[in-house]
């Protein structure tokens, strides 16, 4: 049963992600991203991160994806994208990607990963995350909060300036 769920999540992660990279229509790419995010959320749950799976759906799908689709709509006139058809450019991108993938494969299979003798049973991690965030990882947490505040102000400022110039 778990293997079946794993296969399903892998399929709905990887196949739409090809569409994200290859589709010439940005709206299609954005909607394929929905499936990819959902599959990744499923993989998080299978990896024992129940809280992060839910958060993936909440933050990525309902936050980031909606924001991206808004962006697509706001720049609608420019959305007819002509994918570069110059052969050298496409070829170089593909070759570089394959090389990077080969490098990953070498790294994954040549490294002797340390192994836990027995995998612990998945437990609910929400309270553990809360304790770590307000204990050991308090400073990264606060820095992230300040970052989000700065982004809030910065995004408003960037968009407002261009309004004033017009």
């Amino acid at each position: 049963m778990k293997n079946f769920a794993f296969n399903v999540f892998v399929i709905i992660t990887l196949i739409p992600s090809f569409w994200v990279a290859l589709s010439s229509n940005i709206v299609h790419a954005a909607f394929s991203l929905f499936f990819t995010f959902f599959g990744v959320a499923g993989l998080y749950v299978l990896l024992g991160a129940d809280f992060l799976g839910v958060l993936q759906v909440l933050v990525y799908i309902s936050g980031i994806l909606v924001l991206i689709i808004f962006g697509v709509m706001m720049t609608q006139r420019a959305q007819m994208e002509h994918i570069s058809t110059r052969l050298p450019g496409r070829f170089a991108g593909a070759v570089l990607s394959v090389l990077v993938f080969g490098g990953f494969m070498v790294a994954v299979y040549k490294t002797a990963w340390p192994k836990l003798t027995e995998l612990p049973e998945p437990v609910p991690t929400t309270s553990e995350i809360g304790n770590l965030l307000l204990g050991k990882y308090l400073i990264p947490f606060e820095v992230a909060s300040v970052l989000l505040l700065a982004v809030l102000v910065g995004a408003a400022l960037i968009v407002r300036q261009s309004v004033r110039k017009e």
């Binding site: 998080y44 593909a94 970052l147």
Partner: protein, 102 residues
Amino acid sequence: MNSLTTYLLIAAMLFTIGLFGVLRRRSLIAMLISIELMLNAASINFLAFTKFVSPDPATGQIYVLLIMGVAAAEVAIALAIIISLYRWLRTIDIERADRLRG
């Protein structure tokens, strides 16, 4: 089937697809979407290592949480810049948006 290398393989594929998307796309929003794929691949790696290697099950999840926060911030700023650029140049094609000062 459910081993560390399987998850690393999936994450590597996702990252490579994202990289290919970034290199191939010319629209800024499509590049942003591909970057999101790469960030997700990194998060899968963190969680796989947490589950299969680390004795403490929740530490890697903190990192994924921070990645999510940074990704949200990145998308917000990037879209603000893209929309600002679009108002200015009427295009989000990177090959035509090559002037730093209009």
